[in-house]
Amino acid sequence: MTASLVLDAGLIGGRSIRKSSRNPASILGAIVFPLLFFALFNIVMRRIMEARDFDYVQLLPSTIVVQAMIFSAMSSAYFVAEDRVTGITGRFRSMPVHPLAPILGRAVADVARAFVSLSVVLIVGVIVGMRFDAGIGWLPVYVAVGLLFALGMALLFGLLGYVVSTPEAAVSAASIPYLPLLMLSSGFVPVEDFPGWLQPFVEWQPVTATIDALRALAGDGDIARDVTLALAWSVGLIVVFGAIATRRVRSVA
């Protein structure tokens, strides 16, 4: 049973990775758009923020990493919807495939795509001047925190793929929560810059937790506190939405 789960999930995950690596929109979303936003925010906001002692070169790459993780989750919503609409999800259900394999395979593909994205942003960030002042030994933890967040968001956005009519509609629906989640965070300005009534949300929401943890791992912040909070959010998202997604995939037939 366990062997078949690993094998089935590997096969389904491999298929998903091959599919997204051949989809131009997915490649653009994973590589080109994060780098574009990185460049644009650097050009537009850097002078303004450096006047406020907010070092964009050091702090912005972690924001863009988290943005790229959300883009990756939006791609996941697209592919979940596509697999459902084209009938392959139902086909898997009708075959002797381990019932958890489609979800696990999807997760493998999501994490792989997120890893490509994260690596590209970090490489460009380091070229531009970002430094791992907390020690390069924290880099694997940095990557792990980013990927766990990507997986949690992919399971959350993936649910949209089960309820909307088309893959494009899944992306449209995901872009509504995406904007406030990303912007109303510590990613672009310090939390104190927000209106007072909004600050509690900004401070405690998962995107801020993850960005702060990544920044701490690169040398700005309290690693123990920030990473604990980020992991709590990511693990929570994975457990809750992984369970819901598993139930959804069983009901598709």
Binding site: L28, V32, R47, I48, F194
Partner: protein, 272 residues
């Protein structure tokens, strides 16, 4: 997408082609109805610019207002008006692409109507769509300090200028739709191009905030031309140069992309 909602404008018994005005009116009506019947396109036209306005105000007001001593809403409402004009045309481009892909345009070509009528209809409908977004932005911006300080005449001019901008910029998307082979090859490149136009305009931050090398690009950007014109219409100041600038850009965009799109359609492309 269903496209077969328009009756042929010519009755079977009549040998006379429809007049240009009738044909245009039919296609404007079709484009506007198609837009209104797709809930997601209404949401994206009106709700997304508003969401962007509220979010950007919450995030960047403190920082930008510390950098320049002025209400951020006064800068951001014209900026996001141009943003709404640019990104709104994406949906129109996708709709036009599906007209080509589903064979609707081929069907129109077999009818006794001007081949330009669907294009004219699409562009005029785009102006209606833009007006909805701009009214919503100005109304919401009012709550955060955006004001028409230069009189009713210029306030009306503000909305007219935004509609003219929408009718000009939409030709870029229409042309790209004629060369795109799939919907995925249409939206992301346009999206990236419009993002660059928006970020390199003075609609988000003042010119001094840009690094020195970027400032000439900011000043030469057609999006900046419209942001400046809208800003003068809202707050007052010399109008001659901004009007000339925006008019020349509009004419250039329509001349280049309109010609390319019409030529592309005239050679009888088959989409896909």
């Amino acid at each position: 997408m269903s496209t077969a909602v328009v009756d042929p404008p010519v009755a079977a018994s009549s040998p006379e082609p429809a007049s240009t005005a009738t044909a245009n009116a039919v296609f404007v009506g079709r484009s506007v109805r198609r837009f209104l019947r797709r809930p997601d396109s209404v949401v994206f036209t009106v709700a997304f610019p508003l969401l962007l306005l509220l979010t950007m105000l919450a995030v960047f007001s403190s920082a930008v207002e510390a950098f320049e001593d002025a209400d951020y809403a006064q800068r951001l409402v014209p900026g996001l008006t141009v943003s709404g004009v640019l990104f709104g045309s994406l949906g129109t481009a996708v709709g036009f692409w599906s007209d080509l892909d589903t064979g609707f345009m081929d069907r129109v070509r077999s009818l006794p109507v001007s081949p330009a009528a669907p294009l004219v209809g699409t562009v005029l409908a785009e102006a209606v769509r833009a007006l909805m977004a701009v009214v919503a932005l100005a109304a919401a911006g009012y709550a955060f300090g955006f004001r028409f300080e230069a009189g009713i005449g210029r306030a009306i001019g503000y909305f007219v200028a935004a509609m003219i901008g929408a009718m000009a910029f939409t030709w870029i998307g229409l042309y790209v739709a004629t060369i795109a082979t799939s919907q995925e090859s249409l939206s992301p490149p346009l999206n990236a191009f419009f993002l660059v136009l928006l970020f390199f305009s003075e609609g988000l931050v003042p010119l001094d905030a840009y690094p020195g090398w970027a400032q000439p690009f900011v000043q030469a950007n057609p999006a900046t031309a419209f942001v400046t014109l809208l800003d003068r219409l809202a707050r007052g100041g010399d109008l001659g140069r901004p009007i000339l600038n925006a008019a020349l850009w509009s004419i250039a965009i329509v001349a280049v992309f309109g010609t390319l799109a019409v030529r592309r359609l005239a050679v009888g492309r088959s989409a896909g």
